[in-house]
Symmetry: C2
């Protein structure tokens, strides 16, 4: 114990290694609603890839499990350390190394937050389009979870926007994968394998992300519908129209009531319409040209009308921003309302109506609540689960996940498995795939140093 | 020998197993210019995933190496079988299983050609946007190589457009990865790992691809430049403008002369402009709206003028199509002109001028020719190499690949390593990465049954 702490301290500097009382509560958890906090034995704050490498080698030698932490905003317990473990916090590796306008990429250290990257890219007229609800998330953490967010419907998720990595293998080797190009056919794609691996395969110490021109004109259209199925059926039609919305979210009436109440938001929807609405569709549009945007807004309004919207509201800049922000905070709203878990099953978008009907049925049978909103364009349904009894809730979750998979979907669209959904993953996933994933884990991490207990138990 | 042939025949049916004289020359090679044809001992034509699985199990038991073949249009020798090996040809697994307009995906068997998929998606108003020069390529083969093509600048390469697979592991297990959704964070991304693995990890027996609305209005703009560096410098500026071209190709003057001569193509470029042109930029634009397209064409013309184009030509439909087709056939033109190899180094797009200057220098020193064209928007430079002496040519290739890598690029952008570039890959790639890739290969294929000799030698 003492030995290995001294070794870690030697690597990062004594003031960058926390143990015992100096480890604050914050490092004990992420934002998962169901994972008990666990304080790690050590927290190290490296400044370079070489330090990360030396930490991993030392940890492997002493059989100390290692968990990486970005901002701890994850929702699956994957950044929650082990009690006997080392937490590597990337908070000091937080430099934007380069905004390369010619190649439209940024090169960043893993601890850079999305908020900071947004600010820095804005100054160059560019944008990083991975935009999960929580902008305090770190770029390294989004690599860990393959984060999505609202703009994925147009720009894809983290996987589609990370072009290359510097990564440290559990064996201590520092490799570079990919590059400032969006195509490479030269051996296996290690970048893609590391993305979404929840800190179990390698630690990203530098990340090359793709940027897009920041389009100057944007609008938000809100449409209440009398019926959730109608909303769901509208989604494929909007995407088939060629309109390319950058936001396409659904919000059910209970969630809308909660978030507008919480945020004191007035959207100009008359009481009569609101009372009849079962769900809302939020459509974001953007363009480099104001006239074209106006044309798209008009076309969207017509289309929503044809698809059965009770009415269509083009929101003013201020209230549009507030609605989007409120939607981003839906997780906090659910938490405040007493949700016992929040999940994010993904299904083919045409399966959403059937899947949600099944969820309602299962929740009713379990005397539980399941309400939410979601990235409708991606078939990614976020549900707040209200069910105090843990055993009952686990059974319900099992059935909901199984229903999603039966529709051709998966347990998580963007939050990951972590430890929160581990037992369901191992229970429901094809054993041949889990066995193959274990062999891949072994190929990267023969000593099982990185995040043991996550993904495989 | 006899035993295993009987076993293969039992699996696929006697008339679907070819041996000896019945194996035609066609199965002995792909389109690589440097790989000697090699007739396989066996060719099997399975009809189902179960048959593929049984073939792999039998082959592993008898230590028969297995190579998958789509259409054999690959350029790296990766579909070239071993003399003692089994070639699994997917020619009978060629059904389009589903065009799902709601989810905008197609589900296809691996032997479906891109030409057929294009026809089938067109009928539904949709398009599969992976569009390499050779439309006889199979979807399975494009998964094998992570094929790109001209439209990658807007829509990405195969990797960005394949959402899921049914795949047979070398151990015989049949798994399903991904699905009809574009985001999943549920374990490692096996889809992405298999894509681009050149038939060394698993065989795809079903492929879910993403479709896009087929935009009805398209235009092609051609701009001659006095200087290749100017062309290269124009590329990032066009992409930064927000114009989102779906084609952005450069063609050097020698290549343009050859392809226009070969295809008897007249583009309306006056002799004086043509004589002064060192290179051309081809910009493709498309839109769902004719007026918007016109606006974009105009803006593109202005921009090209500002960027130093000698002139700008908006090509008529017929000659635009012919030019694109001629560009697609540039490989055949190079081959007919006596090229000794064709390579496709990828570099960050801002590095193209420097890289091409270095290539000229290296080629001159080696008394060799290196001319070409390329997917300029992606930094993917296709070069015909003219150098008869094999040893000298290998030295030149080594230096060109090293120069590309020194610019932050990679040996191949879309053709792959196969056996053609194997020695250079093993020579130049980071040994830690190659060792990791070998361990991944081992995790999938413990008996080294799938395409031994490709990627690892
Ligand atoms: C209010 C709220 C809204 C949210 N909305 C969304 C949303 O819309 N979409 C979405 O996808 N997510 C959303 N999330 C979840 C969360 O923001 C994302 O999961 C994000 O990716 C976590 O980033 P982080 O830096 O906080 O990572 P952490 O929680 O610190 O870590 C996440 C995982 O990444 C690993 N990791 C961290 N750093 C590295 C590294 N350098 N290399 C390798 N692995 C590393 C960790 O070990 C862990 O497995 C939301 C969360 C909240 C609280
Ligand atoms: C004139 C010409 C122009 C070209 N232009 C381009 C271009 O612009 N962009 C580009 O990217 N390529 C281009 N190519 C190369 C070629 O078309 C692509 O590499 C294509 O992906 C090969 O498809 P195929 O079906 O012919 O594959 P094959 O050559 O048969 O096989 C290619 C690889 O895939 C593997 N494979 C085949 N089927 C499967 C399966 N079901 N599961 C797993 N692995 C499998 C094979 O083992 C092999 O490793 C061009 C080729 C020619 C001749």
């Amino acid at each position: 114990m003492v030995d290995v702490a001294a070794r870690f301290a030697e690597i990062v500097g004594a003031d960058r290694l926390l143990t015992g009382e100096r480890v604050s509560e914050d490092y004990a958890h992420d934002e998962s609603l169901t994972c008990e906090p666990r304080k790690p034995a050590y927290v190290a704050k490296p400044a370079t890839a070489e330090e990360v490498s030396a930490l991993l080698v030392a940890a492997a030698e002493h059989s100390v499990p290692v968990t990486a932490r970005g901002s701890g905003s994850g929702l699956s317990g994957a950044a929650r350390p082990r009690e006997d473990g080392l937490l590597i916090s990337f908070e000091r590796m937080n430099a934007v190394l380069e905004i390369d306008t010619g190649n439209q990429v940024a090169v960043v250290q893993p601890g850079v937050t999305l908020a900071e990257l947004d600010e820095r890219t804005a100054a160059a007229g560019l944008a990083y389009t991975v935009y999960p609800g929580e902008l305090s998330a770190s770029v390294g953490g989004t690599v860990g979870t393959n984060a999505g967010g609202m703009r994925a419907v147009k720009y894809g998720v983290t996987r589609h926007n990370v072009l290359g990595l510097q990564a440290v293998l559990p064996t201590g080797e520092i490799i570079r994968t990919g590059g400032k190009t969006s195509k490479i056919s030269t051996g296996y794609d290690l970048t893609q394998l590391i993305i979404g691996s929840e800190g179990t395969l390698a630690l990203a110490t530098e990340i090359i992300v793709k940027l897009h021109p920041r389009l100057p004109h944007a609008a938000t259209v809100l449409a209440p519908f009398g019926d959730l199925t109608q909303v769901m059926e509208a989604v494929p039609r909007i995407l088939a129209s060629g309109l390319t919305p950058n936001i396409l979210e659904y919000i059910d009436n209970l969630t809308m009531a909660a978030i507008t109440y919480n945020e004191k938001l007035s959207l100009g929807v008359p009481d009569s319409v609101r009372d009849a609405a079962q769900a809302y569709l939020v459509v974001g549009l953007e363009n480099r040209d104001a006239d074209r945007l106006e044309g798209d807004v008009e076309r969207t309004g017509e289309l929503l009308g044809e698809l059965g919207a009770a009415d269509v509201y083009v929101l003013e800049g201020g209230s549009a921003r507030k609605l989007i922000e409120a939607r981003e905070k839906a997780f906090w709203t659910a938490k405040a309302a007493g949700a016992d878990d929040v999940i994010d099953v993904v299904v083919p978008r045409t399966e959403m109506p059937g899947f949600l009907a099944k969820v309602r049925e299962l929740a009713t049978a379990a005397e539980a609540g399941a309400v939410g909103c979601g990235h409708a364009g991606d078939g990614n349904v976020h549900l707040g689960i209200f069910c105090k009894d843990n055993e009952k809730r686990q059974r319900l979750l099992h059935d909901i996940f199984a229903a999603g998979m039966a529709c051709g979907g998966a347990i998580s669209g963007e939050h990951g498995i972590g430890t929160a959904k581990l037992s369901h993953f191992l229970d429901l996933e094809d054993p041949a795939k889990v066995a193959l994933m274990r062999r891949l884990k072994q190929a990267f991490d023969p000593t099982d140093t990185l995040n043991p207990g996550v993904l495989f138990g």
